[in-house]
Symmetry: C2
Subunit: 408 residues, 2 copies
Amino acid sequence: MITANENYNKLNASYLFADIATRVQTYQDNNPDKEVIRLGIGDVTLPLPPAVVQAFKTGVDEMSDDASFRGYGPEQGYLFLRQAIAAGDFQSRGADIDADEIFVSDGAKCDTGNFQELFANDITIAIPDPVYPVYLDTNVMAGRTGEFKDGRYQGIVYMDCLKENGFMPDLPASPVDLIYLCFPNNPTGSTATKEQLAAWVDYARDNKALILFDAAYEAFIRDENLPRSIYEIPGAKEVAVEFRSFSKTAGFTGTRCGFTVVPKACMIYTADGAKVSLHDMWNRRQSTKFNGVSYPVQKAAEAVYSPEGQAQVKANIDYYLANAGVIRRTMTDLGFDHVGGDNSPYIWIDGNGRDSWEFFDLLLDKAGVVCTPGGGFGRCGAQSIRISAFNSPENVAKAMARLKDVLK
Amino acid sequence: MITANENYNKLNASYLFADIATRVQTYQDNNPDKEVIRLGIGDVTLPLPPAVVQAFKTGVDEMSDDASFRGYGPEQGYLFLRQAIAAGDFQSRGADIDADEIFVSDGAKCDTGNFQELFANDITIAIPDPVYPVYLDTNVMAGRTGEFKDGRYQGIVYMDCLKENGFMPDLPASPVDLIYLCFPNNPTGSTATKEQLAAWVDYARDNKALILFDAAYEAFIRDENLPRSIYEIPGAKEVAVEFRSFSKTAGFTGTRCGFTVVPKACMIYTADGAKVSLHDMWNRRQSTKFNGVSYPVQKAAEAVYSPEGQAQVKANIDYYLANAGVIRRTMTDLGFDHVGGDNSPYIWIDGNGRDSWEFFDLLLDKAGVVCTPGGGFGRCGAQSIRISAFNSPENVAKAMARLKDVLK
């Protein structure tokens, strides 16, 4: 008899964004004349930058010609892209990362979800709260947790991120083996200083722990003192893996490309304490279960690093950050405390005691504005909402005007 | 201390095609003037069909414009593609598969590798020998096998595919839970009749087993009596999942698109014997760990089903099948028994007692022709080689002339 992986039963039955979609659809059905403004899901709205489009088409052209056609590419990604990434995102900032430490993929969701396969099943995992659900759910599916009780999975070390600690988790009181961190943070939009990340790197080194660092939103950092990569911290190469994405950087949410950095110096351990190369393991995983990213997509991603591409990408992010500024000022005027939005597309708003789903319903029903209820990201988000800056300035202005009417 | 998934240690250290690449490189270094002809790895050589290129570019154009830009798409694939697949590949052949039973992905390698995540860890798995290594390796990584001894992983039920049984495995003598089948077969090129597949469907129904059916090469079937899908067999929808790919059909090895069919009627079981929807489980897996295929790539794949696309795809496959015919006739003339090549791009050649790596080295060293040693696919391939028809007619003719010199 073919039996199921029953760990799937532990998962919450419904997915946050599916719940939201249902509520929005119901509202729209009941209010067919009302224009809904979506500031919920973190999806970009601007088209691909012209430099990216041009390279994408050149890639397609190459696939149409005998002489330049490309079949299977390297599972790790083409060297031209890996080199552009290593130089543009790391070496340029003093982080000593080589091209062959970059693994190109079809997105950070896949990589953050799949990476846990490399670890033993009995490790202790520390995960922030609130958090992007993929880190948790993929460990649930793999059987690394107990049941879901009181809003949390048994066996996970949750790290509270609250106003009281500046949305930076405290170092765990008891030792953990694997630590998920994300800065600029999804959902709170908070950032980490070099000193704060250095404390985590020290912790990992002292405890033979590993940090999985999600930097999908690094392109939104405007404060030059903030690190964009964990590899700007000395010693991080031995204890950290970094996930990156072109989704929010260059509008690739529908184009699909990201990458993961696994430094060759990064070691994990057998149960007996012998060192194991994490780079070798991920390479084996990707060679066996993945077949590389579409060649024209890799050409498109490479163009992000051209001078034109860099200027166009920066302009697009400026556009979203200007939206974020409008949202922040509005919420301040309305008396709502918040974090994020200065070096991040997300603004995390304290609901002044309101339940996050109630706040969500209020904004939807009274203002026709869709946000994301913080409770969907974890217990610590139960009284917050996330507003995203991914929309047009016109829609953001309209949405903020409606919020002023409803919340004044 | 962060510990490793030590199941990775059980994997054979080297990967078949990496071994081959090393030997070819060594030969090339020692014989810089000799032109190597590659009939080894199963990678297409013809460029993308014009209808596909045009649709691909239209997709990129849409991504460059505010009004038509697409961000995150459905994790399961766009409905336009799922509908084209359901109609073109299944309903047209009397197989009652709906669009929402199709899950679009970035390739069959990922799907055949990832699908095992849905099952309990203590199931009994039957895998053919010789076999595409991904089925085995991904179960090894997941901890469903013992050590590798005498060319086989402990705990796996190997199903010998030999000349004696027409390269169609016998039904297992003791019950198994999960069965991997691939027709047209990689590596042997053999095919299965409806009656043969029906016996497997009956076996699965009788034993509450599940069949994972890899049909990545179905487009090469020219015999109209042969089934292209397992769903042409009555009752298969309850007990079979089918993997498909645009790689060999339409030259997508570097473009990356495939799909998996998980019928809603297909059930697996809890340890207590309660039914579980496999469709729901795969949907949850894909929603959590995958973010859909690049939109322009999905547009390109849709064009495979247009009248022009169909004609162009057929012409490309005819081109490879003509090569296969030349290879078959040559090997017959040289006195080598073989299977495949009539409804498949692969010809599986009995080495008349020669060890497969010796045969490989002979063809490389004396003829400058690269094949694939059968031993790399399993113990039953130890005296066979695989020759692939993916090359130009000119190169195939040249390679066969060289083989005639060496093997006469």
